[in-house]
Symmetry: C2
Subunit: 196 residues, 2 copies
């Protein structure tokens, strides 16, 4: 029977998560089965269960991995003594980079979190609310310090995160521009729009 | 047997489209049935077929209604002798207004167009590509005229349209800000970000 091959620097669980993320995006979490995941990996479903208990466990692992990366980075940024504009620039860059380099994971975490079972669902939503609030706080501080124009912080965060999630359509497009041009221009647009 | 009641200024077909749009958004186009639509209208499925032939016909009507509204407005804007910034401001405002006032329709047209049958699908995608190209052209002209900063027009259009489609999350939220504050702040952010 075929075994799940580990790649350099990837555990077997990570390999399963990668294949699953792609399938969840293409078919939707509901429609993709453990059998589909096993097939995509070229192994029997039984050997999947040595590494992972359920589809739901994979979804949890993906959603919380993405959330953790954003939160750890935000904590670093909050500790820095940069200007608020520089802080927001760093945050925007990390979001864009994640959309470019870990597209499948971010997509699943953005679109399929509804399928998380409790208590993971509530926990995930609380973290997301708190994360957005902390971004709002940085923008509010930027306004108070006169570094940013007077703009509703909730609307600014909504605009930034939604604009970045639109990179989905670039992934599906004919890629007439490179990832680098996409990144630098979107950062420029979103930062100049905040600047006083 | 109950009959579909027309409201003032709405044809029966429009009433069916409205109920269907809501169901398509909540359940997804694939999962919502003609029977569900009839039930939501409080009529027998048979009486639906007096007004509409299929689920797909409703989807076509919704997608092309939304596309037509955007295109007609764009044609007006293109004819105007405004600055390019004013033109983009008008376009951004119409997109935001549509997301606020015709949310279900715009949502279906943004998310469920994949289910259009041919030749409607290709036609819809061609129109969408051409529409985005015409917005890019206005931005390119703004850069040439020195009214806008030098930004990749494709990225600018992607940023604008994605930011506006993020109003979805406002619809699902606790509405701590009004539609007016949302609109004015998002217009400000997106226009100031373009301005030279």
């Amino acid at each position: 029977m075929a075994r799940i091959q580990s790649k350099k620097n990837s555990t077997k669980k990570e390999i399963i998560m990668e294949k699953a993320a792609r399938l969840f995006r293409e078919k939707g979490f509901g429609a993709a089965s453990m059998r589909d995941i096993a097939e995509a990996l070229g192994v029997e479903a039984a050997s999947l269960y040595n590494h992972i208990q359920s589809k739901s466990e994979i979804l949890q692992a993906i959603c919380f991995k993405v959330a953790n990366e954003f939160i750890s980075h935000l904590e670093e940024v909050e500790r820095d003594s940069d200007t608020t504009l520089k802080k927001m620039e760093n945050i925007i860059k990390v979001h864009i980079r994640m959309m470019l380099d870990s597209y499948e994971y971010v997509y699943i975490s953005d679109h399929e979190w509804r399928h998380l079972p409790e208590p993971y669902l509530s926990n995930f939503l609380n973290q997301r609310r708190s994360y957005r609030k902390r971004l709002s706080d940085i923008i509010q501080e930027g306004i108070n310090r006169n570094e940013m124009k007077n703009i509703d912080p909730y609307v600014a965060v909504l605009t930034i995160l939604s604009a970045i999630s639109g990179i989905e359509s670039w992934h599906r497009s004919r890629k007439t521009i490179t990832a680098e041009i996409l990144e630098s221009n979107m950062v420029k647009y979103l930062i100049e729009g905040l600047k006083k």
